[in-house]
């Protein structure tokens, strides 16, 4: 086949997909911010998406904080700078690893659940049924999930920050010989508002990405069980890639010394 035709087809496919996603995002956001908002559905989704993600996010944050303390200790020990372990752990968790690790876990749990649920509703015609019952599927299915993710993700990351620092604290005090009071004092005094808020802003953005990908791929799933499976996989992988890409962009934007 002609090389120009191949390139052209790839570009057109990409543009068509970007356009579909753009239109979907526009409609989703419009329904998130315009009345009516189904409050009971929003609360239910905040519970399912946010509260039930707490154990997974908490555990990963704890271990990440612990590992971070060990590795930073090894590195800084070579320069005799091991006293800086608490500060660097706190900074790493709040600015970077808290939001990113929580975001990736959130993608695995929430994007998959949303895509599978909405995808199954699509292939069993439940979404069409919503329309025939004078209920907008965007209002009823998409808006509560996206709002819930954007609201709960910063809360989750706030908790993850605390647990992550506590993970570093546990390792440092139990096996690296740090004094507990000094460790916590150094961590807390060192952090600035900017350190914490930049992480929480990232968290909200990641919540948006994860729920958008879950809803988009679920809505566009085709066929039967296989189609829903593919939609779920796409939702998880695309939200993970987008999280890491968005993380770089947000970090450069929020970069401030």
């Amino acid at each position: 086949m002609n090389i120009f035709a191949l390139v052209g087809r790839a570009v057109l496919t990409f543009l068509a997909m970007a356009g579909r996603l753009g239109i979907f995002t526009g409609r989703a956001v419009t329904h998130c911010v315009s009345p009516p908002i189904y409050w009971s559905l929003l609360l239910k989704q905040m519970f399912r998406i946010g509260w039930l993600s707490l154990p997974v996010v908490g555990l990963t944050a704890f271990f990440t904080g612990g590992v971070l303390a060990l590795q930073i200790y090894i590195g800084s020990y070579r320069y005799g700078a091991e006293a800086f372990v608490p500060q660097v752990v706190a900074l790493g968790i709040c600015r970077e690893l808290g939001p990113v690790i929580a975001g990736l876990m959130f993608a695995g749990r929430v994007a998959a659940a949303i895509a599978a649920e909405i995808g199954t509703m699509r292939v069993t015609e439940q979404i069409d049924a919503l329309t025939t019952l004078a209920t907008n599927p965007f209002k009823y299915l998409v808006a509560p999930r996206m709002l819930a993710a954007v609201i709960t993700m910063p809360l989750l990351v706030g908790v993850a920050d605390i647990i992550g620092i506590f993970g570093g604290y546990s390792v440092s005090t139990s096996s690296l010989g740090f004094n507990g009071y000094v460790y916590l004092n150094n961590s807390v005094n060192f952090l600035t508002n900017q350190d914490v808020f930049s992480g929480l802003i990232k968290a909200a953005a990641f919540g948006f990405i994860v729920s958008l990908m879950g809803c988009y791929h679920g809505f566009n799933s085709k066929g039967g069980a296989q189609g829903v499976g593919a939609a779920t996989t796409d939702a998880v992988t695309s939200s993970m890639i987008l999280i890491l890409a968005a993380n770089y962009i947000l970090t450069s934007l929020l970069f401030e010394t």
């Binding site: 069993t124 015609e125 439940q126 069409d128 049924a129 329309t131 025939t132 004078a134 209920t135």
Partner: protein
């Protein structure tokens, strides 16, 4: 709007998916309180036609009138209002599995019309009784019901909001012959005397004869025959004859690739 205005009218409706033409200029009129059944083989675009009327799919060409109003360009709130005239019984019932049976039946009343739950629940129980289901079923989840029971719940949901037009998508597919006949009877009894217009699509001829007073046949994206149900056996159309007698040999060739 006069009585002479058809309730639903399709004029030259065309719908393609990629290069595949599904509807190739469908013209169809359904009068008020009429029960029309559209027959046709699998994959001839019957479901697509209904989804075009509901605005779930947008036709590329042609016009669709409901009560004399062109509806394919409706958006937003006007479309929501328009959709309140309709309800639909889906092929697989399409019940919401996260809700109980009564919440399914009352869904259009609570979400669509903002009725309070207590009142909607009473109406749901009443509609369930109309399709032969007791109040004990109301609290079950749809997954606990057999296929026939799910269809009944779907029917109760379709009639719950007192629609003007009901679509039935293959109402008897996947049911045993007796349950199929029960559903046919329920369809007839739940719409008769209410002035409801119905459009059904099916390939089950027993069902088509029972629930319709007019039949149209869709073949290759066009309506090729349209007439009163009692004249279907004397249609003089060899495509219709082949279909209603279920013969493999005839002018209709089965396309292996859809």
């Amino acid at each position: 709007m006069t009585d002479a205005t058809p309730k639903v009218e399709l004029r030259g409706v065309k719908k393609r998916f990629g290069s595949k033409v599904v509807l190739d200029g469908v013209d169809l009129k359904i009068d008020r309180a009429e029960s029309l059944v559209v027959i046709g083989g699998s994959g001839t675009g019957k479901s697509v036609m209904i989804k075009c009327v509901l605005g779930i799919l947008r036709p590329e060409e042609g016009e669709i009138f409901v009560d004399g109003e062109e509806v394919t360009k409706l958006r937003g709130r006007a479309r929501d209002e328009y959709l309140k005239k309709f309800s639909m019984l889906f092929q697989g019932a399409a019940l919401f599995d996260s809700l109980t049976v009564w919440e399914n039946v009352a869904f259009g009343l609570i979400q669509g019309r903002g009725m309070n739950r207590k009142q909607a629940r009473d109406i749901a129980i009443e509609k369930l009784a109309k399709v032969g289901l007791g109040a004990d079923v109301a609290l079950l989840s749809p997954a606990e019901l057999s296929g026939g029971m799910q269809k009944r719940v779907g029917l109760a949901r379709a009639i719950a909001s007192d629609p003007q037009i009901i679509f039935f998508d293959e109402p008897t597919t996947g049911l045993d012959p007796i349950m199929a006949d029960v559903i046919n009877d329920l369809i007839v009894s739940s719409v008769e005397g209410m002035g409801i217009t119905t459009l059904s699509i099916t390939h089950d001829m027993a069902s088509a004869r029972k629930i319709s007073n007019r039949i149209a046949m869709l073949y290759k994206g066009k309506i090729i025959w349209d007439g009163p149900t009692k004249k279907i056996d004397a249609s003089g159309n060899e495509y219709v004859d082949q279909f209603i007698h279920g013969r493999a040999v005839g002018p209709i060739k089965m396309e292996v690739r859809a």
